[in-house]
Subunit: 835 residues, 2 copies
């Protein structure tokens, strides 16, 4: 059927980027015949060596029913306020396809049946599908009724630089062939606007076609296992040449409205709106010929009653639809992306595919969280890319905010507001536990209450396993950490006085109250918590009851106590006076923080190995080889062992880096200093050696953290782990989870690795500090930062680090590389030799 190798021609014309996931033999052959760079089933095979590669395109050729959901997530177009999966417009939800559109922060709670249980859960709500598009040639069958394999020469390409998804394919009724070219984007400039432009060109025939294009509200949330209907019946209304579609979430009662305008160019014979009850579609009948193709431009505006300046969502959507002249929307969108790339782009001198994946990661991070993201959204673990973890907010901001905050502090500020606005719920959770301060939830949603499900379904055993991960109270320590980082980034004392110090102090109060003094050793101990490693939720004898003295929790508590004191010190004078009065901070509290900062207990074993928790070294060794040979992928060892009637609690295993997180968050220097002050001689190298072979990397964050720790302790060994971390979503290394959304923390974490781990950037003590340690595989890196009002360009290679400040009226900043420190004024440049 393929008369010419048009895929390959398209590939050549576009300068093929990553070409993955071709399982279609026909297409593969055509591509290879045409001389495509490389055609791969799996990104794992990707090693283009010295071949030219375009790092700005992600291209999928042909159709792959197994990986379609994964591709949809990687083809998301979004702007941090709204995002739409790259689903095919002619398809609806099913085993293969999953159209999804999500508004950041628009959640709803519903009951859903799941594996024999009824669960009541809060979900990020899947909204009506504005991509809905169908056609037929003559009186043939509708596109949507054909199998996917009836489509010829399908190519889908995401232009990362411009944020535009382009799909080309040929639809056929068996005789006549119609070329479809469809471009889709969600405006990065005008947050409410989205466009889908379609061109339909008959190949060597002329005749009638019908098109139905509009919005389909027959959607539900079923991307992540359980299925729930969150939306009221849609209300469709025609307003002149626009159609509005209004829905309301059933429990949270958020009104969401789309306004859709479509303009058709060609020989239109008839057009009218159809309201099917669940979809609002423009039906077009047109005569087409090679000389008179049909073009349909669909512009959609979306608004919700959670937006600012809202009278009704429908009125707002209609206003947004008219806010920008149609011919300016794409220009403005692309210009916005251009500005983002100038600010967020990281250029690395390494293998080209690493650059390509880094670009992809920056692209998706910015589509998930941007300056368009409202305060109410938080940072969902899976972005706005799918319904994994039900759209809940965990601790990913610990990994995401360094990337965003160092380029645009305002985004970090908004995200910290997400927590600040939920202090009341966190205080209530603390009070419920009989403790002061604030207890932030492990899984957070709209109102800041704990949303962690009580049980987890194990598909291996078909049993529900109790889920105690709400004991991961360390999420609060991440909030305190992020608040302090924001202060270091901006030196904004007013913010620290108004919000930042309150976040830090309320978290500290909670952990300090949990810390019990043991007269026997004169140390403070924290019991009943879980660390980041979810394989351990209690001693083997008392599973689910939490652990004693989780090293990560204890050390971060000590660190946070110092920061609470630091905050009051920085605010000394009227700002601290106000704060002390408002939060009723007593002198003895401050003494207690001081004490705990030096007398927190840290479990150690062997020659300075930090124990993950008290008793970890007493657990049994695990036979990794046996399980790897039996199961292959052992990342979800918890599920494997439970199915065997066993439990991870018994073994010296870790789902993800836990002790090593300390090196990641604090850095070797600060951690070493802190451990000294606590009076412990820990050996970080020995700890690394101990945990590396005992970690399954069952969380995508684990490889990010491990690569970072390796970068700090053994730079020359870190690159392979970094490369593995890069592949997590692109290669869907967790085997099917990416279809439920990207792993946002891991994507951001890899971007951050280049800056914070390899360039060794820290913002500390009012300095911008670099400790470069490039591995051999990374010959150099360039990136841009915003720090205390200065815009900085950093270039480094193995020989030197150059930092250039853009002109501005900001005050000079202190830049330190190793033991050399300079005051850098705006407009100045400094070169540090690294030899």
């Amino acid at each position: 059927m393929v008369s010419e190798p048009s895929h390959a021609r398209a590939a050549r014309e576009a300068g093929v980027g990553l070409v993955v996931g071709i399982t279609d033999v026909k297409t593969r052959a055509a591509l290879e015949t045409a001389g495509a760079d490389r055609v791969l089933d799996d990104i794992g095979q990707l090693d283009l060596g010295g071949l030219a590669i375009d790092p700005w395109n992600l291209t999928f050729y042909g159709f792959d029913s197994v990986h379609e959901g994964h591709r949809e997530a990687l083809m998301v177009t979004g702007n941090g306020y709204v995002a739409t999966r790259g689903a095919q417009g002619e398809r609806t939800e099913g085993r293969i396809h999953y159209p999804g559109t999500y508004l950041a922060g628009v959640n709803d709670t519903a009951s859903a049946r799941s594996h024999g249980r009824t669960v009541r859960e809060e979900h990020l709500v899947n909204l009506p599908n504005w991509l809905a598009f169908d056609l037929r040639i003559g009186a043939g069958s509708w596109w949507s009724e054909q199998t996917e394999s009836a489509l010829e020469e399908e190519v889908r390409r995401v232009d990362l630089r411009r944020g535009v998804l382009t799909r080309t394919a040929i639809v056929t009724d068996g005789i006549r062939r119609l070329r479809v070219t469809q471009t889709t984007f969600v405006s990065m400039r005008d947050r409410h606007l989205m466009m889908q432009e379609t061109v339909l060109e008959p190949l060597e025939w002329a005749g009638k076609i019908d098109v139905r294009s509009g919005i389909d509200a027959h959607v539900r949330n079923s991307n992540a296992g359980t299925a729930a209907r969150h939306l009221s019946r849609p209300r469709f209304t025609v307003h002149g040449d626009a159609l509005t579609c209004e829905v309301t979430t059933r429990h949270s009662r958020v009104d969401v409205a789309f306004a859709v305008r479509q303009s058709a160019h060609g020989q239109i014979r008839r057009q009218n709106w159809i309201d099917t009850g669940t979809a609002g579609l423009l039906h077009l009948e047109a005569a087409v010929s090679p000389a008179t193709p049909l073009r349909i431009n669909k512009t959609a505006a979306i608004a919700s009653s959670r937006d600012p300046a809202i009278d009704t969502a429908a009125a707002a959507a209609l206003r947004h639809l008219d806010a920008v002249p149609p011919d300016r929307i794409r220009l403005r969108h692309e210009a916005a992306w251009q500005r983002l790339w100038e600010r967020y782009g990281i250029e690395i001198d390494a293998d080209p595919q690493s650059q390509a994946v880094l670009n992809l990661h920056v692209f998706h991070v910015l589509q998930a969280v941007s300056d368009h993201t409202p305060e109410g959204a938080g940072i969902p673990a899976r972005g706005l890319h799918g319904e994994g973890y039900l759209g809940h907010v965990f601790w990913d901001e610990l990994f995401v905010l360094p990337v965003l905050g160092l380029r645009n502090p305002q985004i970090a500020r908004t995200q910290l507001d997400y927590r600040w606005n939920r202090l009341e719920a966190a205080r209530a959770a603390a009070a419920e536990a009989g403790l002061p301060g604030a207890r932030f939830p492990w899984q957070s949603g709209t109102d800041g209450t704990e949303q962690t499900p009580g049980a987890l379904f194990n598909p291996r055993s078909h049993r529900w396993m109790p889920d105690h991960s709400a004991r991961q109270l360390h999420v609060g320590l991440a909030v305190a950490y992020n608040a302090w980082q924001f202060y270091e980034l901006t030196a904004d004392l007013v913010w620290l006085a108004d919000r930042g110090a309150e976040l830090i102090i309320e978290v500290v109060r909670h952990f300090v109250a949990m810390a019990e003094h043991d007269p026997a050793d004169g140390r403070f101990h924290i019991d009943g918590v879980m660390g980041p490693d979810e394989y351990h939720d209690g001693p083997p004898t008392a599973p689910g009851t939490g652990l004693r003295d989780n090293a990560y929790t204890n050390v971060m508590t000590a660190w946070s106590c110092r920061r609470a004191l630091d905050a009051l010190d920085r605010l000394r004078g009227h700002l601290a006076d106000d704060l002390i009065a408002r939060l009723d901070i007593r002198a003895e509290e401050r003494e207690q923080w001081s004490l705990i900062a030096t007398r927190m207990f840290l479990p150690l074993h062997g020659r300075g190995v930090i124990s993950q928790f008290d008793g970890y070294d007493q657990l049994e060794e695990f036979d990794w080889n046996a399980y790897r040979s039996r199961y292959g992928n052992v990342e979800r060892l918890d599920l494997i062992l439970e199915a065997e009637g066993d439990t991870t609690n018994r073994y010296k295993v870790a789902k993800q880096a836990d002790v090593l997180m300390l090196v990641y968050t604090l850095g070797v220097d600060v951690l070493t200093e802190l451990l000294d002050e606590l009076g412990y001689q820990a050996d970080l190298h020995a700890s690394l050696d101990y945990y590396l072979p005992r970690t399954s990397h069952g969380s995508t964050l684990s490889r990010v953290v491990t690569a970072s720790v390796l970068a700090q302790l053994r730079p020359d060994e870190s690159w392979p782990t970094f490369r593995e971390a890069l592949d997590a979503d692109l290669d869907d290394t967790q085997g099917g989870t990416t279809r439920q959304g990207i792993h946002l923390g891991a994507m951001a974490g890899t971007v951050d690795l280049a800056v914070r781990s390899y360039a060794g950037l820290r913002t500390r003590n009012d300095e911008l500090q670099f400790t470069p340690r490039l591995p051999a595989e990374l010959r150099g890196a360039s990136f841009r930062l915003h720090y205390r009002g200065q815009a900085l360009e950093v270039h480094l290679d193995h020989a030197r680090l150059t930092i250039r400040s853009h002109a501005s009226s900001a005050p000079p900043i202190q830049v330190t590389v190793g033991d050399r420190s300079v005051a850098l004024a705006p407009g100045a440049e400094h070169r540090f030799s690294l030899s």
Copy 2:
């Protein structure tokens, strides 16, 4: 019936403050007999001379049906998020009483019949009345069924320092007398919480009483003439010991929920919730005696779906209700007020009643706008105190933000966000007029579209007069002015780059596009606008078409052009580069701003008198004496003349200062400099002389502005006008308008007069500048400021100005008094001699 002069005793015990509005002869006699300081019908009589006066209490004795609505507004308790009129809990809406509770920013649009017309209008929504409280003694009639005069010894007192309203009275069934003591407050600390505490003590009898206390949702909006129902039927639900009341606004679909918990202490025989369909009431039957009074503590929490961190409004209200231990609510509330008074209090050494009224004004400004006020609220002209002007937002922030911004810049920031979030609507309004930039509406509501009604009912003529006041485009210039002031206050370049400069530049673009170059005089002219003076909406020959060259508009346009250029200059470097790219600012635009800043036309006549607009001096003189003798109060000359078939457009009159506004906003120095640069020699004294006798002060803002101009040009003549401005709301000088809410701009303006006019404070050119000019009547003043991170205490009298900075880590600031300038470091103090 009055066995002892208990009013007077209460007065003595409390240290009588302002005692106004006694029309009840019996009460007056009792007070005078008991030796009350002064008993007045009218605040105009108030001249306590050297008598002691407590400036922290506003006390109303007895009942006055004519002034009850006025009193309700002055007895509002609120926190900037929610406010409740000081209505009597046993009364419902009618000619005399008007219970009102308002959530800042919760508006709804409805159709309402008004004087024969159906108007569709957006209103600040009157919410269910949580004060509802009724009782009966034995089987007697309910309190609500008695006439107000059946009540004995009623005293209502607002404790301004603590933000608590206390009412004492004796209810009687003709035989038995029951003392009622009711305290009400809306927490200034916990924004969602409100309390009403009632104590019922029988005087020398024992027996049964019934109480019904709860929430009444049978409310509508009828405080400002037209009547509209905005709320759905209420849904009442009992949750344990709490009741929720949920309502939804009909058009804007905002969910509002109250959660109410009541605890009764005494000999309770029976208690149960009653749902009347429109009210949810706790019915209590109790046995009381002098030894066992009945206490009822009602705590109400309020939430809306416009709040952050909301799942459902009802769930949030219940959570807020439990967020603070009941016994801590009042303590926290009072502590918050204490901190506010430390920050906002202005102490003047002058007549004691001026101090008392200033306190009252600070009190109400903070209850209307505080750091609890959400972004979506704006600053309604009548506070949260009533429904005057339908709760719309005009330009009052020009008068309010100097007061708030100088004490807490974050409040000013939120208010500027109100405008920034409505830029899209303002851009759409500009585009509708065929012009670029942003056109902010004269009356703004939720979504930022123009809400000015098209017509105004004249009760004198019973005719609807066309209302062209939407031509007051100068509201946009006030937005630009406020944005620049915020920058001057904070030196926050990031904010200027992100939001402030955009506000300024978009407004400037709009006015610059309106300015037409006339080759004849080489000047730029603006046509078709109205100035602040609403008596003139066009030339006599073309009423309603707007004026040519309104001096205020033209000069503020020139000033704003300079600030747009200044902003780009301050941001020079990367911040300006980003802004220029984002807003697509072309070089020729900047040249145009530069040109207009020096070539804007200013109409002058006589010896340097600035004409209010081109042609003002050609209008007829008005016979003020004739009209004053015929009508008495001629403030609403527009209505008087229209009723006579005449129009204010024909005369040299002004409803309010218009030309003089320039002196108010810019100050004499800046204005003089600007006029010089424009090439005009204007005589400000002559202009003052010209407009003073031609101004009716039909707006409460007018006397504020006039007093400020007098303070600058003739300090010794300003005090009487300042005193008149102080009386506006307390004395309801506009004759009945205060019942529809306070005049927020005027209240704030009088507070600001002490600081910006008498102390002569300006924030300009990165300096804090003082030009003190105390009139003889004002012997001294003390206040506190926040400027660029420093907390400052300022004390001045006729001999010296002392400024003391609190300790902090903020950088030094530049303080200038006259021609002396010092750098003031935190913790330092400087004394300037003024002789």
